[in-house]
Point group: C2
């Protein structure tokens, strides 16, 4: 294998790691990860992703409570990637230049994108160092609480969390649906019968053992989807109100 394909190999072996060794990351490795974050592509070069590195065990526990997942508190590194229009709002403000558009929802989305691609760049860097990672979308179960815990100012918002450490488990590669269901040429196309299309995938998922639940078999994919849609978390469902509270304007048609 040529050297560069080692990157690809790592990406194709990606698994979520939820149990880490107690060993913490050497400072040098952490700094490398942050240098990768720094070099990540950024919408218009605006660098609107900030990172909160949570080291205080009490704050880790508070975040874990929002996530509803105890293992979050045990991650050697816990990073929260932040939508940050606050910094540039202040920069333009100090120049007495127009900065009100920092509050527009499209700027929120640019920064949200910056935050997500930065997180994935860090994930790839971490995995290249044989570290394991777990994404924490569950920080949005109560985004208002996370804003409060992390002291987030106006025009910032938590996009995604990430736990990093040395793996203490070796989960099976999780089955994925065929890309013919997910890639389309030129135009989106629907299928007549999705259950029929994913029949084999449903069976494959049934045979997979998820380490999360003490090695029990998992549901078929279609059953997982059904379960997922029933799991409505009211505070999460209404997150737009927190985005508004953080100072962003939705610019709804009926708003001026």
């Amino acid at each position: 294998m040529n050297e560069l394909n080692i990157m690809l190999q790592k990406q194709l072996e990606h698994r979520t790691i939820r149990e880490f060794k107690e060993e913490s990351l050497p400072a040098e490795k952490f700094n490398d990860l942050m240098e990768v974050a720094r070099r990540t592509a950024s919408s218009n070069g605006m660098q609107t992703c900030s990172i909160i590195r949570v080291t205080d065990p009490a704050i880790k526990k508070e975040i874990a409570a929002v996530c509803g997942q105890e293992y979050v508190a045990k991650a050697p590194e816990l990073l929260i990637f932040i939508v940050d229009q606050y910094r540039n709002y202040k920069i333009a403000g100090e120049k007495n230049s127009f900065n009100e558009s920092a509050k527009d929802l499209d700027r929120f989305f640019s920064a949200f994108t910056d935050a997500c691609i930065t997180a994935q760049n860090v994930v790839n860097a971490a995995e290249s160092m044989n570290l394991g990672t777990v994404y924490l979308g569950s920080i949005l179960n109560d985004s208002e609480k996370v804003c409060e815990i992390l002291n987030l100012p106006q025009l910032t918002f938590p996009a995604i969390g990430l736990g990093i450490g040395y793996p203490n488990q070796n989960p099976q590669l999780k089955p994925r649906m065929d890309m013919s269901l997910r890639i389309f040429e030129n135009k989106y196309s629907s299928f007549n019968n999705y259950l029929d299309e994913i029949k084999d995938y449903d069976k494959e998922m049934n045979a997979y053992y998820d380490l999360r639940d003490s090695n029990r078999r998992v549901d078929s994919f279609s059953d997982q989807v059904a379960t997922q849609f029933k799991n409505v978390i009211p505070k999460r469902q209404k997150m737009i109100n927190v985005i508004r509270k953080q100072g962003f304007n939705l610019n709804l048609k009926d708003e001026k």
Copy 2:
């Protein structure tokens, strides 16, 4: 350098490539990129990112027109990463299971996150093959038009575009602000004077030549921020209305 650090080295050398050779990607390489997309982490394993591969030159031109950037039409590969709650909505529907929560805005955000991290995973894979990439956040300049061009059904939305090809330019590494402005421990902290904090960075940016504009010097970072905020694109600013039109419920406090 050990083999794995080659990944890191590639990440630290990341530059946006806007001019590509005419050479197209071999099918094998494209398939590898899509296999990486397939293996990307996904919120709750729901795989809510789809990809439209734009190969039709006429459609490429339409997308380029939305972006306001001619080079978009010339990218050998043009991928649009899509928020896709439609597929799982149909799957649960065919099982006669509750699927209305597919429309909740938090599901939109989970899928938007899936789309962005998938895009970055593909970027890292492409760069490991010595390909160049350009993110196209500008597809959101008119998201309604992009939905129309790509025939996007309800519960889908374009998150981000990506051009890929063999680089035909060798841009300088773009200066980035110091991470001390972007990483915080446990709590977000503000600075008293941002212009003072970025004084050196502003100077450094002044000395950088951006290949985009025929090798002319670029503005200082703080000037770029000021210019960026003045550049308000009304259709982009009001993108929430398109997200709504695509069938997502905002769940505003005053909505039931």
